[in-house]
């Protein structure tokens, strides 16, 4: 039986799959879907598909299943192998949102949707003039924090907040400490957030 909430989730996956299949800022549609495929393979303990470069393959797999183990030295090694910092940010966005969709799907009791067929076209290679490495390991516009973590690649920011708003809260709702969604009080959502972060070995 479907519900309004499941319909909203399904529509989110439709939008995310459209984004995933389309050319991005630094990767083509073929490459974006290949990054997602590599992330899913890692989460299922399957071998690499061998489609991407070695740095991109390792980065996609590490972000998917052991992001907490990544260090600055890994990014330097991947950059030496040709994985640019801006392209890495887009890769992180692709893998992180795929994980959001797949984890939520499991918890909702629905099957993972097969990855989309890539769409043709070239990446835009647009780079914000004010993006630079500040407090994190990658370029950001301003300090490297939650709202700005994808800011070197603006379409990835929009995509992240689309997912964030459907699965959790919109930016406007974040300031409401009494908010309820679907009968779940903010306190209960924050318990879920804290426990999830603990299981992911994340300290934010």
């Amino acid at each position: 039986m479907t519900t309004a909430l499941l319909t909203e989730f399904d529509q989110l996956v439709d939008r995310e799959w459209q984004r995933l299949a389309s050319p991005g800022t630094w990767w083509s549609g073929v490459q974006r879907v290949a990054i997602a495929d590599e992330a899913r393979r890692a989460s299922r303990h399957l071998d690499t598909a061998g489609v991407l470069s070695d740095p991109a393959t390792e980065a996609a797999r590490r972000v998917a299943v052991e992001a907490a183990s990544i260090r600055a030295v890994d990014l330097e090694r991947w950059a030496d192998g040709g994985l640019d910092g801006f392209a890495y940010v887009e890769l992180v966005g692709i893998v992180s949102r795929l994980t959001a969709i797949d984890v939520a799907s499991f918890g909702l009791g629905i099957d993972e949707r097969p990855l989309p067929d890539p769409l043709p076209g070239e990446p835009t290679r647009d780079k914000p003039a004010d993006a630079e490495v500040t407090t994190g390991w990658v370029p950001t516009v301003g300090p490297a924090n939650a709202p700005a973590c994808m800011s070197a690649v603006p379409p990835e920011v929009d995509a992240m907040f689309d997912v964030h708003g459907v699965l959790y809260l919109s930016l406007e709702q974040m300031g409401d400490l009494d908010i309820e969604r679907d009968g779940i009080h903010r306190t209960q959502m924050e318990l879920a957030a804290g426990r999830t972060s603990w299981l992911n070995e994340c300290f934010y």
């Binding site: 519900t3 909430l5 590490r62 972000v63 998917a64 992001a67 907490a68 990544i70 260090r71 600055a72 990014l75 992180v92 966005g93 893998v95 992180s96 949102r97 994980t99 959001a100 969709i101 984890v103 939520a104 799907s105 499991f106 918890g107 909702l108 009791g109 407090t135 390991w137 990658v138 950001t140 939650a146 973590c149 994808m150 992240m160 997912v163 459907v166 699965l167 959790y168 400490l177 009494d178 969604r181 679907d182 779940i184 903010r186 306190t187 209960q188 959502m189 924050e190 318990l191 879920a192 957030a193 804290g194 426990r195 999830t196 972060s197 603990w198 992911n200 994340c202 300290f203 934010y204």
Partner: protein, 110 residues
């Protein structure tokens, strides 16, 4: 945010240590059912999921259980995004980390 939001509920007190230890009364209504569903969902645990899901639906309703699953998805995204780009953890969180029985890794300290 958990501490700030629980202060809005009269008489409620948060026991942070239960978030990391996974047992005990955390002070949040239906906290055990929420924690069990989060554990099964985030870990992709096919054995634990059916019971955790039923327990969550009984406590929270179907939409409530769905919302908890979706929050797990959202924070699995945010955790990866922040860890992968080396976003520093503010020193102001150190007391909370100590209360939870954890230490912020050196590579993330600001």
């Amino acid at each position: 945010m958990l501490r700030a939001s629980i202060k809005r509920i009269e008489g409620a007190e948060l026991n942070c240590r239960t978030i990391t230890e996974g047992v005990g009364n955390c002070g949040v209504k239906n906290g055990d059912a929420i924690r069990a569903l989060i554990d099964a969902t985030v870990l992709g645990d096919h054995d634990e999921y059916p019971d955790a899901r039923v327990r969550a639906e009984l406590a929270l309703g179907r939409d409530g259980a769905d919302r908890i699953a979706m929050v797990a998805g959202n924070f699995s995204m945010m955790n990866r995004s922040l860890d992968a780009i080396g976003a520093p953890v503010g020193a102001g969180l150190n007391p909370l980390a100590a209360e939870m029985g954890v230490a912020v890794p050196a590579h993330l300290q600001s």
